[in-house]
Symmetry: none
């Protein structure tokens, strides 16, 4: 018996909720982040400002929820966030890293993730929620692939998988965030190579 309270307004709620998140994503993806105002979101979503503030306590939270919902939707689509496992760790990782590099290079995704990182960097609560809802599930999927590699002797059985993931991904993330270099396929490959040299069998 989940619903023991008043009338069910869930349909309207759900519709406006989706409209708000979609509008937020659209705006973040296409505009400079400072131009993403709550008023603009409300206007684009065809929604009153109060409807936004009824659900989220601040603009940060809306932006965060918007990006979050995007990823959750994607996950829901394919159901799993599993990485490819062809048995060849190097090939699999290069595939994934090249895809990741490409993704970060797309302008709209860039703006989205940059906004997300801005919010997260200055709000520990959002950071925690981000890790719980987005980062950890993804990391678990990645670790599962690494464990599978450990089992077949393609990765040091004693390696700290959190560390392995950091060595693999953090350079890409930092280069993207600071725009300190190009995110090429070759770069992606180099990271996989270095990681496997560091944590190979």
């Amino acid at each position: 018996m989940p619903d023991e309270k008043g009338p069910d307004h869930s349909r309207r709620k759900e519709r406006s909720r989706r409209a708000i998140l979609a509008a937020t994503r659209a705006l973040v993806a296409e505009e400079a982040y400072e131009k993403v105002t709550v008023e603009a979101i409300a206007a684009r979503a065809g929604v009153g400002k109060q409807t936004i503030y009824r659900r989220w306590p601040s603009k940060s939270a809306v932006v965060f929820a918007a990006v979050l919902a995007l990823s959750m939707d994607e996950d829901a689509d394919g159901q799993s966030v599993a990485l490819p496992d062809t048995g060849d760790l190097e090939a699999d990782l290069k595939l994934v890293m090249r895809a990741t590099a490409e993704e970060f290079a797309a302008p709209s995704f860039d703006r989205l993730i940059r906004a997300l990182n801005t919010e997260i960097a200055n709000d520990a609560a959002l950071a925690a929620e981000y890790r719980e809802k987005l980062a950890q599930p993804l990391e678990e999927a990645k670790k599962a692939r690494l464990r599978s590699a450990q089992e077949v002797g393609q990765l040091d059985a004693d390696a700290d998988l959190d560390l392995v993931l950091e060595v693999l991904y953090a350079p890409l993330f930092q280069r993207w965030l600071h725009r300190s270099g190009p995110l090429t396929a070759g770069y992606a490959d180099s990271l996989v190579d270095a990681t496997l040299r560091a944590f190979g069998p």
Copy 2:
């Protein structure tokens, strides 16, 4: 003849400039970043707002300059930004990485660098200036140490030093930015170990 325009107002200029940057650093270090307003900086520095805007085009730029000046002052103190070179790369790197980890853990430095990263992440021009004025000199110093190691056979002579630095530092940076784990001495050591395994001779 360095000053060719009239009386010597350079002293006042310099004094107010320092006061502004010091006030900015103090505020950023002690308050939530959203509370750092130009008005607060001006008040704290005992300066008119216009004196701030005469020198920098925006609040971002002031904050950026404040952090920048901090580092430049430090550099000026010791004159060089050279890393220690005892001949033992592993020991030297661990020393540096442990110090870096400690530095990031200090609350006031944390807030300062977080503010800097927020500004940088959303402003490509600031990011470029940051890399030119702060990151690159530091990286050059680090690369100098790595080259020295290559010469004595403690590091792969063909290694891409930019990549080496990323593998070494980016995990620490990411863990700090996302608060995704503790920045312990052991963690610092692990990064050095992994890097040396990846790029050792």
Copy 3:
């Protein structure tokens, strides 16, 4: 055949109607008028907001109806709004004017009538309804007493009774509205005296 559509829900209607008007009166009488919101009325009446808007087109109309109903109820009680007629016009008028002055001095009545006047002053339609439903019946009663006085020679037979009433009541009303002086019994008497000097036989 008065009811040609469906069941008779008039009892509920009547109950909620009374609750709304009573709640409105209570709120107007006890709070600053700006704090009288439709939501507050609905909450106090234990009624949905829509139930209010089903019956009245605006908040103004509700407030107006609430005050109106109060007076109509009072009238219904005593059935007639006739003024006393002892044969002595001066005594009768002083009695009435003193009572009126007292009434206006009561805080809750004050707030009620002030709210009514606020609505009326800026809405010609409400003003018309007010005159038709409240003011005119009262004026007719007063004029009846004046006519009776004319017949016995206590008042100029040619006097314009509207004007007489204005000279008698308007000063009291204005003094109350503008809080420009005390509403004492002596003041009430003075108005009667002045009016009788102006329009006496």
Copy 4:
């Protein structure tokens, strides 16, 4: 030594102050009062909203100040608010009352005074200020004329002049506020006649 503080920004202040009050008067005179918003005033005055709120605590206060300033300007123009004194009280009063009736009939003045009365009726502080700044000076001028009449035996020497003024003006005011009758020249005359009958020698 009135100004012992910082720099004098009075010129800008005065300019924006005048613009705000003028815009307010224009809007009140031409629109329904509910459409007179602070934002509209600011826009019309070419002024920021904050500049309005820096000076006045609420919309009511601005509207009040706007009407107040209008009257004070007028007074300042002619310097005195004295009523005509030809020696013939009846003629003088009829002149003034007819002018007053005409004034109230003008739509823009009507809206202005209606707005003023709305604010005053529900705010005792504004009402007090109104009486002090506007009503009392005017009343003094009127009483001066009445006193002059008392001296030449055209008015009862013992008459309470406040009461005389109320009997003279309040009926006109009430009729206007409640729209309960036409404000004709004949009506103005009738009020003078009645007043003189009540308080004549």
